[in-house]
Structures are given as structure tokens and as C-alpha cells.
Symmetry: C3
Subunit: 472 residues, 3 copies
């Protein structure tokens, strides 16, 4: 780590800077000359029409989801909080730069240059979100260098998939049920499958939460929940489309929260709520209206979708995740399959159905702003078919991409942690003032570990034993 | 709890979905057809005039106050953090849906349909805020099922009161000093009075904070404080009214903070600041300009109001709350009487006085945008009288409503916790990996408890004793 | 403290209220009469042109940086969390009121009155930010009364410096590399130099973080990082300038994050990342584009600046801070020299160079909106010279001001803590329910302390010894 991480960061950043120098330009709304072309003369547009005012508040909400939302959601692990927030921060800062280039490259160059502004910033954050979903699947089991390499490849593949869907097929997916959530989840699941650790049980005692780590995680959850309406509406058309998308998402999430609580309690043997479900399943409603949110889904439709998403997600955590781990050897730390995978697929299906039902009668003159191809003559049912095909394409690229990238990450040069030191901050971080909290960890009736926040210090280990004797 | 909570959530959500299906429609600004009616033709309005751009940033600030602000403010309790954030989340998600229907029903149907958009979303969040204030009064002493039932009734009564004030009487109350704060506080105080627990002292050792729980609570406080300007201005008229309201609130809160710190230190025997005062009293300035904030109160007037609100609030915590508990048997966990009750009444009075002084000379053409009835011929002094009457109406409905709902909640079917298990997360939540933190709790000179985060496990209890021996 | 803090707060607030009553008026956009002058007649302007909609979202982001960002960034200390957030809250609430008056006084009165609106609110928050930077330098070593006195003087001097730069010299400094960061840092460093404590090592065991306090600090870091684009763009011209500034800052911060991680790992003996670097250095990129961010710096240029800022900042923490402390007797608790001082100077230099290269060819009609003086005939190279002179002026006023204020704060009437009780909350706060967490603190191989969260209780101290025996 002494040299690998610095070298990786420096090389990647220097490459980024050079490519930005060669390829990137201000767009019409960020360039002083272009935007003020008509200033003082015909006043063709006013300052208020700068895209900044339509999208910057949404951008900042998305930004909070990426850095606080994802970052703190993953702090639920008892001694991986520094890495959860810190590596989230690092790979997000890298990914958003790399995504600017990749998405700019694919979404159309302007005379050999990539033009950027607030919309490209949102899209870069979106792509970053997909990487962070995959991070959730491998959380605690990868070195920061592995994460940087994964981010580099995943951003690239994300941009390819997004290009195929949005530019070639004409798919609608404003909130990214497919491009962001399904892609990120299945890519990450495949990577974690390839990186399967048969002896991960040796770190099992750290793969869980403590009281305050769960409260930190709730900060992440609540921010994701609150700002998801901004996420889904951030790059839709101006006006009614942004407005409607935000509102549909708001109601979907509310319904999802109630069904998540209900299912969490119902599936527990004693009716108690499980923090894991609340932290994750209550968000599935945002994922599941990612595609259809901009459409005339109605709050009624949104609530049904959110309601189902919450149920599916809790069932996934309760019954499917253990099977995935035991049978398919998929060790999915954060359960991204339940929060992003299945709800993403649900969202894609809902989007396909809703698109296939689009009519001029319902959308009026707004039809062309939601479905430009349908307004130009494409059949609505064909648009629905395209949406369904897009899901298959996304799954294919995600799984094949994850397969390849997983094998790359297996190369023994990236400093992966041992099976005994997963979910452990002190591998990567100076925990400069170590604290031995004398604590006993119980799970049910069985005492599984006597633990402190630091284990490397020999003094400490002997002390643990001493105290154990003092206590027994 | 095994079945009661799931059944409650499922039934309520299914009813909500059905009612949304029957009653709710997109409004002019969220419907693709209606909003784009003139698209490509006369361009009667532009995208920028969609109400989304006037109100959505304020909405998101309000949303943060509801879910992060209220949620984390209540995490100050040492082992009720999951329930504080988690039940806040649940009842808010329910209330905002139910409020959409109730407020839509009362505020005028459009051809039998409820039209919704960003303004109705803000109003739904406002109504939810009122429920969360009442939650603060009963915090730690009610089951989630009780809370859902309380929310259901309170949202209904809130909407009735709001309808009487805003639609029948023509009261002005943009920031809800009366409709939200006074109503929520006195409703909750009456409920907690009816639910009086003579043996609550059995859970007293958990009715207090620990170091980090107070820091989590400060997250709630600071977010409420920062975004209160958005709260008070969220549904005022566009333009100067939103701008002025936000600014008046900003200065009221700043003045309130200084007087809260001063009073907290002044009333302590050793001059030390009390976290409870800082977490709550510093916010009273926002409550107290809830009604008059949109008026020409001036920053000067706002600061006087905030200054007084901080003083009143700290005095309430210090001297009135103990009396309420001992004499009137009102066990007000969060001290909502001091943060929302008295400052709400102060706000109502300030609003009445300010309204009665409104003149065309001061407001110019803006008079009709703040006081439509006064611009239409109503005397300003009469408007002031109406404002005062509205306070009385609000107090009446809140107290009678709280009385009835309190008795309903007393029915022995909702799974209320025992007197010995109040303020305890492990009743409702899987604390999946239990931790016994060997800690001693002191209050003054007296050792009141040897405590860990979990007490149900017999192994643990014996261990506590062992260690106590080891330590003595 | 019993009387000093209340008296200070009450007197200052009453003076503020009186001065607001005499001097402050609503501006054109917050006054009901003035804004609606043409309402219903010629409609000279629409509601959407109210400055509120251009700046309020940015204001709220800045507000979050001031109260959550700065407040939580400083909670890294193990038992100074209440004071970090709480004193940050107090002095910020005071400073923003005082800054409104001081900045209004210097930036031009309107007929003897100070006109206020959202832009003045942002500027007041900016000035407050400068005070909070200085607070970081003296953190843990000053009483709240000292902090209030420091804030009073610093706000005044800040306003003088800002007036000289912006109004007299015509300097451009939208994001405050000079006016906010350089000024706040060097003012604070000089104050802490004057307040030098030779026996501060007696409180050394509390001058460090614990696990969860570092996670709280990351909340502050991430919020500062996310919203810095709003900070730098909050008071630039409408339209392209706000848009461009936000974008330049976004890329500068992203690049800075990668270089900070790289340097943190590279300079550690075992390659481990240091939370102090991540919490601070990763933000230096925002400081360093504070001046040039609104100019046509390009994302490419911004990334180079951010990249360098991260490197400089980590090197400062690693090698310069120990020298400053040992040789120059500057005890800089938060390392503000590394986050605000050096990056601020870098930002001033980058701004001077970028300004000197401004041409009509690059800026087009936008030249006058970024450099009004250059558009009016001033040479760009002269503007660059002015920018450089401004840095010198800022450093001069900050250092001389800090010298004088430092000596004032040394007067033995403000209740400064003893050398043995620095970094300790229980001096100023009721820690009402004290908890002795039985914990051992290690630093490397050496056991430095056996500690709990409270030390005043004699019972506790004896208990500590008992347990030490039980454990040894």
C-alpha cells in the first residue's frame, strides 16, 4: 500500500488532467463568451434561462446522495466506517472525472471537444452512483487500489451501455433503473462472485453493526430517501417532467417505507424490525420508479410500484441473500441485489409497460418531451419492446463486464486483504489513538467474540485475555 | 408486534393506494398534457414558470427538516436512537400520504379530484411535522402501532383546523406557528397526559443522553435551525414574500441562539450550558416568526421576537417542565411545550399584532399578496382579531382532539411498552449483535446504573454482576 | 462563566437589535412595497427575477457549510464535540448579525440605511466562515467569551479588509481565497501564537480523535466538499458566471481528493491513510480556486490547481505544522494553515495570474461581468497586479489584527481554560449523565492514558484505579 495507492492515484489523476486539457471545453451555458454572445444587444436569452437554475439544486441533492448517502449507508459495519466513507469519497472523486470523459466521448463530441455543464455533472455523478453500488457488493473485501481499478473499468462499461440504450436504442431511463441500478448491482455481484472467499467466515465477527454504526448508516439512508425525487428528476426535460418525476418518486418511496416496515416485522420470528431492512428496503421504491417516474405513471401507479419494491426487497434480504451466498457463492456485503438489483429489474419492467401504454391522449403536446421517438411516429408498443430489450442488454453487459473485471481484480498485485482481515479499517487507516473498548459481543445466546477497535497490538491482545479472566 | 405492526401498515397503505387511485390527479404543473397545452403554439408560459422552480428547493429543505431534523433531534436518548429515527421515518412516510388526501379533500376538490404538485407536497410535509411534534411529547412511551393510529387521527384533525383557519377565517399562517406548532404541541401534550404513567421512574435511567447520542441530536438541531427560513417561506407568495420570510426567520433564529445560550448558562448553578436547551431553545425563534415572518415584520422585529422566544423556551425547560410533570402529570419527553407550544403561542400573538398594523402605506401593491382580505376591504385590526381567534380555535381543537385520541391509544390492543421498558430500542428492533459496553453511569455523586446496550440476555446480566465485583 | 457568558451574549444581542432597528431596511427584492411597485401595471419585472431564486439555493448550501461543515469538522476531538458544534453555532449566530451591519456599513449605505437581502445574507455567512477558520486555530484552548470577543473584532477587521479589496482596489475574489481563507487563517494563527501555552502538553492526551469522533468529523468534511461549488459561485454574477464557478470548483475538488489520498499514503511510514489529511487536505482544492473559479480558468486549469493544493496541504500537515509548533510556537489545533492558509495564498496567486491573462477574445461580452474594470479600460496585467497587492494587504491586516486581538484575549477576564483542561467539554457543558467508558488508550506501543468521558468525579477516578488493577 505504501506505493501502490499513491502511484495509482497520481497516474490516474495526471492522465485525467491531460485528457481534460486536450478534450474538454465549456458548453454554451458555462462559457463567458458563448453565453453572453447577445448580451447588451438582442438579449436572445436571459440569465434565468441558464440551465444552472433548472438543474443545480437537483445536482446538489444528487451530489449529497453520492457522497453522504452512499458513504454513510455503508458505515453500518462496526469497524469499517473510515473505509466506507473514505473509499466511497476516493472512488467517487475519481469516477466523476473519468465519467465526464467517457460519457462525453460517447454522447457526442462537438468538433472533437467534450462540452460540459451542469447536466454533464449530474450524469457524471449518476455514473459514479453505479460504481458505488458495485462497491457495496464487495465492501470490506477489496483494497482501495482494487476499487480504483474496478471504477476505471466500470465507468467505461457503464458509458458503453448507456450509449447503446439512450443514443442507439432510444430507451427512456431518466432515473437509471437500468443504466445505474441494474447495471451497478449485477456488475458488482459478478465481481464479488469471482472474488469469492471460501474462508470469509474468519472475518465474520466484524461483518455486522454496532449500535452507533447503525445510526451513522441511517444518516445515509435518510439522505438517499429524501433526495431520490431529485435523483430521478435531475435530467428529465424542464417543466412538468421534472416536477412530475419528483412527485411520483416521493409517493413511491412513502409507500415503499410502509411495506418495508411491515415485511421486516412480519418476517422476524419475534416481530422485531431489522435495521438492515429499514436501511435498504425502504429505498427500493426510488429505484423501482427510476425509469417510469418521468412518465404519466400517476402517484397511484407509483405507490403500487413502491409498495411491491419494499416487499420484494425485504424478502430478498431475508430469504434470497443467504441462498445466493451459500449456493451461488455470491458474498454481497450490503445486499445490493435486494436494493438495486431486483428493484432495478422491477423498474425496467414497469418502465416498459408504462411506455407501451403511452398515448397522445394522455400526454398531449407533452408526448414528444417524454417519448421523442413515439411523437416522431414510433409505436408505443415498440417503445415498450425497446425498453425490455434494454434491460437484457444491460444485464448482459453488466454480467460479462463484471466477469472480466473480477478476474482482473484477482491479479495478485492490487493488495487485497486476507480472509482474516476483511471489514477492518486498521489495514488502511492510521487509527492513531487506539482504543480498546472492553466489550463483549453476543449473538443470541452465544458469545462470539471479545472485541475492541484494534487488534494488531500485542499488548492489547494480552490485555483482552487478562480482562476476560477478570470478568469470568 | 409480530402481526399488529405489519397488519396496520399493510391495511393503511392499501387504503391509501386505493384512495389515491380514485381521488388524486396531477395538477396543471405536473400533468404532461395540461402543462404543455400551448407548447409550440402561443407559449403562454415557459418552463421556468412551473411552480417546481419556485418551490422545489424549499420543499427539499423542509423534507430534510422532517426526516433528518426531527428524526435526529430525538436521538438524544441513550438507547432509543433506532426508534427515534426509525419511527419518525415510518410515521412521516405514512402521514405525508394521508395528509395529501385530507388536505386535498378540505382545501377544495377540482371536479371531485384532488390536484397535487409541489405545493401540496410541502403542505403534506408540514402536516407531518405537526405529527412529529406530538411524537416528541410521547417519545419512548408508545409502540409504533400507537404512533400510526395517533398519526392517522392527528392528520385528520390538523386538516380540519387548517381548513377552518386558512379557508374559512382567512387567517395568515405561512410558517404554521398556529397550525403546525401550537396544534402539534398541545395535541401531543394532551395525549401524553392521558397516557400518564405513574411508574415511569422505572425507566428513568434510560431517559437521558450519552455523549455521542447528544452529538447525533445536534445533527437534527442544526438542520432544523439552518432550514427554518425555507420552512417558513415555502408556501408564501412568490417573489418578495418568500425572500422576506426567509430573511426574517434567519435573523430571528440568530437572535434566539444568543439568548438561549445566555439563559442556559445563567440558569445553571455553575454556569454550564445544557445540551437540552441548546438542542431545543435555539430553534424557538423559527417557531415564533412562523406567522409574522411573511409580513413586514422587519429584521429588527424578528430579532426581538427570536430573542424573547429563546428566553421563554429555556425558562420553560428549567422551571415549567418539572411543574407540568409533577403537578399536571404531563410527561413531555422532548419538552415540546418549550420548543413548539409556548413559542407557537408567542408566534400567533406576534402575527395578530403585526397583521393589525398592516397598512397600504407600508405594503404598497404588495398588500394583496400578504393580506388578500385586507386588500379586499377587511380592516387590518379585524384581521388581527381573526388571527387571535384562530389561536383559540387551534388550542381548542388540539386539546379536545388530543383528549379523545389519548383515550383511543389507551385501548389495550396497541402493544404499549411496560413502565420498565420505556425508552428502549430492543423492544422493537433486532439489535442483532449485542454489545455489552462495560460502563458506569453516574449522575452527580450517585452511581445510578451499570449499563450496557442490551439487558435481555441472562448471560449478560450475570456478567454485569461479575464485572461489578471485579471492579469494586 | 456563570455570569460572563450570559452578560456577553445579552449585551451584544441587545446592541445588535438596536443597531438593526436604527440602520437596517429591506432591499428592493425583500420589501413588499418596492418589489411590487409595478405590480398589475407595466410588470417591469416578474417574480422569477427576484434575486431569491438566483441565490437562495446557494445560500442554503453555504449555510450548511458554516453550521454543519465547520461545526462537525471540528468534532474530531475525542471530548470536545459539544464545544466544537456548540461554540461554532454560537459564534456563527453572532457573527452573521454583526457582519450584516459591518459589511452593510462599508459596502455602501443607501440614504443612511443598510439594505439587506439574500446576497447580504450570503456575505454575512462568508464573513462568519472566516471567523470559524480562526476558531479552528484556537480550538480547545479558549473560552466561549474569548471566542465572542474574537468574533466581534475579527468581523470588523474582515469587513475593513474586504472593503479595501473589493471596493477600493477593485479586486475580484468571489470565493474568498484572500478575503475569507487567507484572512481567517493568518488572523487565527497570529491569535493562537499570542495565546501560546508552553504547558499545553498537559492536555495532550485529549488532543486527538477516537473512532466515532472521526466519523462525526467526516460529516463536516463531506458537506464542505460537496457544497464548495455553491460557496465559490454564491455571489458571482448571474448566469454563466455562477454556472462556470460551480463547475470549476467541482473539478478542482475532485482532483484535490486524489492527490490528498496519494500524499497521505505516500508520506506515512506504512502507507496508511491519515484521517486528518482526508478530513482537511481534500478540501484545499475548494480554497485554491476561490479567486479564479469565476474566471475562464477551465476545468483543466482547475484540476491542476486542486491537484497542487492537495499535495501542499498534506505536506503542510506532515512536515510544516510540527515546525510551526516547535519553532514558531504556533499551536494550530485544526491545522488551518494547511487547509486555509497555504491554499488561500495559492488561490490568490492563481487568481492574479488568471486575471492578468484575461482577454476580450476569451471572455467576449462576458468580460465586463467578470472584470468590470478591465472592460472599462484597465489593463489585464494591472488587474493581475492589483490581485497580488490584495494578497499582501490581506496578510498585513490579518497578522496585525490577530496580534492586537490576541493580546486583548490574553486579558485575564475572559475565563480562559487552564493548561490541564484544554480540549475538555465538561468545563462548559453539563454532561448530565456521566459515563465512564472503561477504555485504554494506546498510541503505538505505549499506553498513554486510561480514560473515560468524565474526569471530575472523585468516585470515578478511584474506580479507574480499581479497574486498572483488575486488568493488570
Amino acid at each position: 500500500m505504501r506505493l501502490k495507492l499513491p502511484i495509482t492515484c497520481f497516474i490516474l489523476e495526471i492522465i485525467l488532467i491531460i485528457l481534460f486539457g486536450v478534450l474538454v471545453e465549456y458548453d454554451e451555458d458555462t462559457d463567458a463568451k458563448k453565453f453572453n454572445k447577445h448580451f447588451n444587444t438582442s438579449m436572445e436569452h436571459s440569465d434565468a434561462e441558464n440551465d444552472f437554475y433548472y438543474r443545480y439544486p437537483s445536482f446538489q441533492d444528487v451530489h449529497v446522495m453520492i457522497f453522504i448517502g452512499f458513504g454513510f449507508l455503508m458505515t453500518f459495519l462496526q469497524r469499517y466506517g473510515f473505509s466506507s466513507v473514505g473509499f466511497n469519497f476516493l472512488i467517487a472523486a475519481f469516477s466523476l472525472q473519468w465519467a465526464t470523459l467517457m460519457q462525453g466521448f460517447f454522447h457526442g463530441m462537438h468538433g472533437g471537444k467534450i462540452h460540459i455543464g451542469v447536466e454533464s455533472m449530474i450524469n457524471a455523478d449518476f455514473c459514479t452512483g453505479s460504481v458505488l453500488i458495485s462497491f457495496g457488493a464487495v465492501l470490506g473485501k477489496t483494497s482501495p487500489v482494487q476499487l480504483m481499478i474496478m471504477a476505471m473499468f466500470e465507468v467505461t462499461l457503464f458509458s458503453v451501455n448507456e450509449f447503446i440504450l439512450l443514443s442507439i436504442l432510444g430507451t427512456r431511463d431518466a432515473g437509471g433503473s437500468m443504466t445505474i441500478h441494474t447495471f451497478g448491482a449485477y456488475f458488482g455481484l459478478m465481481v464479488t462472485r469471482i472474488l469469492y472467499r471460501p474462508n470469509l467466515h474468519k472475518s465474520k465477527h466484524r461483518n455486522g453493526s454496532v449500535y452507533h454504526s447503525d445510526l451513522f448508516a441511517m444518516i445515509g439512508t435518510i439522505y438517499l430517501w429524501m433526495f431520490w425525487p431529485s435523483f430521478n428528476s435531475a435530467v428529465t426535460e424542464h417543466g412538468d417532467a421534472q416536477h412530475r418525476t419528483a412527485m411520483n418518486t416521493y409517493y413511491s418511496l412513502a409507500a415503499c417505507t410502509l411495506s418495508s416496515y411491515a415485511m421486516s416485522s412480519l418476517t422476524a420470528h419475534d416481530g422485531k424490525l431489522d435495521m438492515v431492512h429499514i436501511q435498504n428496503a425502504a429505498l427500493a421504491g426510488g429505484v423501482a420508479v427510476g425509469t417510469a417516474g418521468e412518465m404519466m405513471l400517476t402517484p397511484f401507479g407509483s405507490m403500487i410500484v413502491g409498495f411491491l419494491a419494499g416487499i420484494i426487497s425485504v424478502l430478498g434480504f431475508k430469504y434470497l441473500s443467504p441462498i445466493l451466498e451459500e449456493k451461488l457463492k455470491i458474498q454481497d456485503t450490503c445486499g445490493v441485489h435486494n436494493l438495486h438489483g431486483m428493484p432495478g429489474i422491477l423498474g425496467a419492467i414497469v418502465g416498459a409497460v408504462t411506455a407501451s401504454l403511452a398515448t397522445k391522449e394522455v400526454y398531449g403536446n407533452g408526448l414528444g418531451r417524454v417519448f421523442p421517438d413515439v411523437a416522431d411516429g414510433r409505436e408505443a408498443s415498440y417503445q415498450g419492446g425497446i425498453q425490455a430489450v434494454s434491460l437484457a442488454v444491460t444485464l448482459g453487459i453488466a454480467l460479462i463486464g463484471g466477469l472480466i473485471v473480477g478476474f482482473i481484480l484477482k491479479l495478485p498485485v492490487f493488495g487485497a486483504p486476507h480472509d482474516t482481515t476483511c471489514y477492518e479499517d486498521s489495514l488502511y487507516w492510521e487509527v492513531s489513538m487506539m482504543i480498546l473498548m472492553l466489550m463483549m459481543v453476543f449473538k443470541g445466546e452465544e458469545k462470539t467474540a471479545f472485541t475492541g477497535f484494534a487488534t494488531e497490538n500485542p499488548l492489547e491482545v494480552s490485555l483482552e485475555l487478562d480482562v476476560l479472566q477478570a470478568c469470568d
